[in-house]
Amino acid sequence: MTKILEVNDLMTRFHTTEGMVYAVNGISFHLDEGETLAVVGESGCGKSVTMMSILRLLPMPPAQIAGGTAIYLGQDLLKIPDHEMEHNIRGKEIAMIFQDPMTSLNPVLTIGKQITESLRTHMFMDQAAAERRAVELLEMVGLSDARQRLKAYPHQFSGGMRQRVMIAMALACNPSILIADEPTTALDVTIQAQIVELVIRLREQIHMAIIWITHNLGVVAGLADRVNVMYAGYIVEEANVEDIYEDPSHPYTNALLAALPRVDRRRDRRLKSIAGAPPSLLVEPHGCPFAPRCEYVVERCGMETPRLTPVGRDHAIACWVDIKTGAQR
């Protein structure tokens, strides 16, 4: 497998009136060609900020990328000039879809106009060709009467239909990476399933790599090849999707899975919640971020931040303790 995207030691901070927010604290991961990587973690753990840093979509200031590289096909996305980012990367090589389809489409422009826009700027198509392609795309994402719909406005579409339009827009220029930022969170369960199914079908059709940000571990199981678990701006566990469910090795992943309702467990059992709250990102990180809530905590956790270290094939965790034996590393 060739690595299509490699992120190294990415650090993102926000300068706010309350002080520095340490949003992403030196994370490294890679994405192979054609694979689906799920990024899970609770709200505010830096999942979206990481992806938006890579695409340089964060407003700067207040955001600041304090360090790291993001290598896409040999070029560092964090260093290339703005216009190159606009012309050659965003929407063309790396596309992104967002959480809330109700607010992600421009209310005063027709669907057709919004889809053809990127075709015209990136693929230099004329209006007629762009419209033909737009019809094709809308059919690809499963919307009937595509030609008439080009003239429709977003308010005439339901949430699920809008998310399909967003996907069509993202796929317009055949990107090699699709970043999906919680694309199903705002949709109800049946529509969620439809969208996931659609993405799986399209992934096979156009062979792109996907980064799927979510906090829904159920969706992850059916979709992802690999999983990154994030906590407070760190990646704490990185593993194949089977290993995450069968052999969770970080205390946080373990706790997260224990908090998940499962059909194969007794129904009268209470779900376990994780005691405490995530750390304030306003404090400079010191030691393991999960230490205050961790049941395996040892003295070293409060002093040194563990780095991701391999514990098996394609499986790495950032923890000082082996949770199965209780031994320190």
Binding site: L55, L57, H83, M85, E86, H87, I89, R90, G91, K92, A95, M96, I97, F98, D100, T103, S104, L105, N106, P107, V108, L109, E117, S118, T121, H122, S144, D145, Q148, R149, K151, A152, Y153, Q156, F157, S158, M161, M166, M169, A170, A172
Partner: protein
């Protein structure tokens, strides 16, 4: 529809006639945003009345030109000065014997021209400054907004008078659309346009500040839309409603301001007529019963400003996306 008294045989069928679109999830017919706005605008009776008066006034100014020539409007004959309204001169004659009816026609053209061009200038400058400050923020915003405030602090009338006095000295006549008129028209357009833009700039800035935070702007950036594409294709169309309203009211404002400075003798120079400069000198005769000097141009100014303001009000309601009245 069914004829009177005879019930529609198949009311259910009539609803699904026409091109049966398979947009099955849509319950209401597709209306574009402008169609929705037009529906709301029609409900606003004063605004519709305003549009009608406005059309009549424009027809008066343009149509009248086919009946009277401009040389007739500017023709002086002191033997006929201060004639009261009569068959020969329906609106009477002025202090140098010119026909007031013909002068209101040609003066109206100039007044409308000043109103429209000053508005275009004002909106262009205002939108550019508002868009740049609202979108980019930072030091640029600081400098430009302090400048805008500085312009706002100086009373507009005062600024207008000083500028009119300063720039209006000796301006050559110009020929435009086959007509020759005083170059002071251009001067007036510029000084009105260049003093009225701060209001537009502030409206546009506020719009940009709020709209740029929307998720669809982020989504547009994620598809590789350039900064100028974001500004002009995504944010500007979303802020068009208040700009249209500001533009409409800007026309009325420009006409009033022109009347004001022309009345004080600093505006458009005779013989080119405007409704404003026709009032100039009328005050010398106000106690002598020469009412026709000020009545007709005064009424026309009143009507046009009122009707434009009604239209602006109607547009404000019709274009407000939060207005739920359909």
């Amino acid at each position: 529809m069914a004829k009177r008294g005879i019930p529609d045989p198949q009311p259910a069928l009539s609803k699904i006639e026409g091109p049966v679109s398979a947009l099955d999830e849509l319950e209401t017919p597709i209306l574009t945003l402008s169609q929705l706005a037009w529906r709301r605008f029609r409900r606003h009776k004063m605004a519709v009345a305003g549009v009608i008066i406005l059309i009549l006034l424009v027809a008066y100014c343009i149509g009248g030109a086919f009946i009277f020539s401009e040389s007739y409007a500017n023709h002086t004959d002191t033997s006929l000065r201060l004639q009261p309204p009569a068959a020969e001169h329906p609106f009477g004659t002025d202090t140098t014997g010119r026909d007031i009816l013909a002068r209101t026609i040609y003066g109206g053209q100039i007044s409308l021209l000043i109103g429209l061009t000053a508005m275009i200038l004002e909106i262009t400058v205002g939108v550019l400054i508002g868009a740049v400050t609202g979108f980019f923020g930072g030091w640029l915003d600081n400098i430009l907004m302090r400048f805008t405030e500085a312009v706002l602090i100086v009373p507009q009338i005062f600024l207008l008078l000083v500028m009119a006095k300063f720039f209006g000295g000796n301006v050559p006549n110009i020929v435009f659309l086959g007509r020759e008129f005083s170059g002071s028209v251009i001067v007036i357009v510029f000084i009105i346009g260049l003093t009225a833009w701060p209001y537009t700039a502030r409206i546009v800035r506020a719009q940009f500040l709020s709209i740029k935070e929307n998720e669809f702007i982020l989504a547009a950036r994620a598809t590789g839309t350039s900064t100028w594409g974001i500004i002009f294709r995504h944010i500007l169309p979303n802020s068009i409603a208040p700009i249209v309203v500001a533009a409409t009211l800007g026309v009325a404002n420009a006409i009033t301001l022109e009347a004001y400075i022309s009345f004080l003798g600093l505006g458009v120079r005779p013989p080119t007529a405007t409704w404003g400069n026709m009032l100039e000198g009328a005050y010398n005769y106000i106690d002598q019963g020469v009412y026709w000097l000020w009545l007709f141009p005064g009424l026309l100014i009143l009507f046009i400003v009122l009707s434009i303001n009604f239209v602006g009000d109607g547009l404000r309601d019709a274009l407000d996306p939060r207005s739920r009245a359909v």
